[in-house]
């Protein structure tokens, strides 16, 4: 097992390397980061040259990539003074400095990460609990009222883009509820600045974005869980378990559920990092100060050190969760062995 994990980790290296080259070269030409630096006024020609040299933008793209990857603290960057560079490169944990804020990229991302984790963590818990409940019930009580309603809902929700779901929820639970004099929910930010960052405030601000993210995923997940559950329930060993006189609860939750959870684990494991990307839209609509908003804000300003940092983190997450999914698989199903 550990040999398998090590081999997979080694295989991931060229993959990430490849992703980083593609992304870096794309970024290179994605607009001029200097154009928006000085606010409304574009910088003067001599300032431009100086800034370009400072940020290392005067180098050819492949050289820039090389410096981004391994740093330049070992080579002379200024021939006159014999001064060496200061960057240590991504492989030594230095993602460079943001063009916009001049802070290290790691810090910029680190500041926003907890906010996104609060949002996505809550959403993921809601998604798993609700879709498991709906999925299992509609499999056990096939064609019941709940099953029919859930089927109808999932067909519609599956076709609703996240931003539309957000606007709809916002309109109903914030705008309409206020007009009707009902208690309404806040629609932007993480907390009311006059009250401060309290648990109560964050919880209230979480409701709508979490609903937005989860409703669509619940639609697909619950369908998927229903169909895998149905498959398992109709298999021979479940009939045997029932024939032995096991309680229905034990049959369903111990015998059936463990096998039905295999494909569900794949679905959740592989989807998780992509949900993070989906947060871009939700965070933009609800002005949630997370990594998704960070991505959009810095995309418009061509701040590619930050963009590269975010994209690489997500790619690492994708690779990591793929491996994790495979490992959890062997634990759930001892028949599967990796060598």
């Amino acid at each position: 097992m550990s040999r398998y994990i090590i081999r997979r980790l080694i295989q991931a290296v060229p993959l990430l390397f490849f992703i980083s080259i593609v992304l870096f070269l794309l970024m290179q030409a994605s607009g001029d980061p200097l154009a928006t630096l000085g606010g409304r006024q574009p910088p003067r020609a001599e300032d431009r040259e100086r800034l370009k040299r400072q940020m290392g933008l005067d180098q050819p793209p492949l050289m820039q990539y090389f410096i981004w990857l391994v740093g330049n603290d070992w080579m002379v960057v200024n021939d006159e003074t014999g001064e060496t560079g200061t960057r240590r490169g991504v492989i030594r944990g230095d993602f460079g400095t943001s063009f916009v804020t001049r802070q290290p990229v790691i810090e910029v991302i680190w500041e926003r990460m907890p906010n996104t984790l609060i949002l996505m963590g809550t959403a993921e818990v809601v998604i798993i609990i609700v879709s498991l409940t709906i999925g299992v019930i509609s499999a056990v009580r096939q064609y019941s009222l709940l099953d029919t309603v859930a089927t109808g809902f999932s067909f519609v929700a599956y076709s609703i883009p996240v931003f539309l779901m957000g606007l709809m929820l916002m309109y109903i639970f914030a705008v309409r509820f206020r007009q009707w004099g009902l208690p309404y929910l806040p629609i932007s930010g993480m907390f009311d600045p006059t009250v401060g960052r309290t648990f109560d405030q964050i919880a209230r601000h979480l409701v709508l974005p979490v609903l937005t993210i989860s409703l669509i995923s619940i639609a697909t997940y619950s369908r998927y869980i229903r169909s895998t559950m149905l498959e398992v329930i109709n298999s021979d060993y479940i009939r045997t378990a029932r024939a032995k006189g096991l309680s229905e609860r034990r049959t369903l939750f111990v015998h059936a559920f463990k096998n039905a959870s295999l494909p569900i684990v794949t679905l959740i494991g592989l989807d998780l990092p992509f949900l993070l990307a989906g947060a871009v839209v939700t965070e933009t609509i609800f002005a949630w100060p997370g990594m998704g908003r960070l991505f959009i804000d810095h995309l418009t300003r061509s701040d590619y050190p930050v963009l590269m940092g975010l994209l690489m983190m997500i790619s690492v997450a994708v690779v990591f969760f793929q491996l994790l999914t495979d490992v959890v698989y062997t634990w759930l199903d001892p028949r599967i062995r990796y060598t």
């Binding site: 060229p14 993959l15 490849f18 992703i19 593609v22 992304l23 794309l26 970024m27 030409a29 994605s30 607009g31 067909f155 519609v156 599956y158 076709s159 609703i160 883009p161 996240v162 931003f163 539309l164 606007l167 709809m168 916002m170 309109y171 914030a174 705008v175 629609i187 697909t220 369908r223 998927y224 169909s227 990092p273 992509f274 993070l276 990307a277 989906g278 871009v280 839209v281 933009t284 609509i285 991505f295 959009i296 995309l299 418009t300 061509s302 963009l307 975010l310 994209l311 997500i314 790619s315 994708v318 690779v319």
Partner: protein, 315 residues
């Protein structure tokens, strides 16, 4: 199946005899899928609406703005209201729908071309070609496509000038969006085609063709490609729906198709700021997106059942 000894052709049921052609059987299977038929009807209605609607409003009407009539609620003159700078939303939905659907179909064409080519090369030649192409596919799959789309939209934006096509002017961003959606959505297709090719490559008729000295080109074009068609058609149909959604996402975030060219996605851009006062800004374009995507998905499901009855139905 009828087992009686009477001299009747073998029948599956009263209407369907086994003598029917393959196309007819496929059509019958599709028509039995009620939801797919409803989807097809709705889809045809939407297509008629966005094409025939052009008879009521000219494109100039759709782009005409007058701030004196901005943010009007739906009324007799403007059935769906007006937007922030006084453009007629109904007219913009009609013209935006044409562009959104055009983008959906052309982007899928790009992705089918790329995906099929990569899938066929990978599956047919195997070896180093296969592992290189599949690593590339994997790399593309490891970057969430929405983020990749946003980066690429930024990369290409403003590089392509306005285009004249069929007597109408399109913002250059339409072409950019088509190309980048196509270039970020071919991966699943490539995998489907590759696995189909892998099994077809081992069949007797391909071996026979090889033994007869057929060239690679002939084997691929005449023997392999036609047999991968069914899953490709299904994937392409569903792909149109997701391409329309992708366009809506990036246009909503403001890096997609640029005004004055309308699409269902960029009609929604900025509507969040008027969530209190002008819900018609997002309700109607949003409804069109959902209806279209839903009906295309239904049609795709029906096609899957009709073309490939053995395949497992993915949710």
């Amino acid at each position: 199946m009828a087992t009686s000894s009477q001299a009747k052709p073998i029948t599956l049921n009263d209407q369907t005899t086994v003598n029917y052609s393959r196309a007819r059987r496929t059509l019958n299977r599709f028509l039995r899928h009620r939801v797919a038929v409803v989807g097809l009807v709705v889809l045809i209605a939407i297509v008629l609406f966005v094409t025939l609607g052009a008879l009521w409003y000219s494109e100039a009407d759709a782009n005409y703005n007058d701030t004196k009539r901005s943010l009007l609620a739906p009324n007799a003159e403007f059935p769906l209201g007006t937007d922030t700078i006084g453009r007629n939303i109904l007219a913009r939905i009609i013209y935006g729908g044409q562009i959104s659907m055009l983008i959906g179909v052309t982007a899928v064409t790009v992705s089918v071309l790329v995906g099929t080519t990569i899938g066929v090369f990978s599956g047919y030649f195997g070896g180093v070609v296969d592992s290189l192409l599949m690593r590339f596919t994997e790399a593309m799959l490891s970057i969430p496509s929405l983020l990749l789309l946003l980066v690429m939209a930024k990369f290409f934006s403003g590089r392509i000038p306005q285009q004249e096509f069929l007597g109408r002017t399109f913002s250059g961003s339409v072409i950019v969006i088509v190309v980048i959606i196509g270039l970020t959505s071919w991966m699943y297709l490539a995998r489907i085609v590759r696995s189909a090719v892998l099994s077809i490559r081992e069949t007797e008729y391909v071996m026979a063709a090889q033994a007869l000295g057929a060239t690679h080109r002939r084997i691929i074009l005449a023997h392999i490609l036609p047999n991968t068609l069914a899953p490709v058609i299904v994937a392409a149909t569903l792909g149109v729906a997701s391409a329309i959604l992708s366009e809506a996402y990036i246009s909503f975030l403001g890096v997609g198709v640029q005004p004055p060219t309308a699409t269902w996605g960029n009609l929604l851009e900025g509507s969040r700021r008027y969530i209190d006062d002008a819900p018609w800004l997002w309700i109607f374009p949003g409804l069109m997106i959902v209806l279209t995507v839903m009906s295309i998905n239904f049609v795709g499901d029906g096609l899957r059942d009709a073309l490939d009855p053995r395949s497992d139905k993915k949710i």
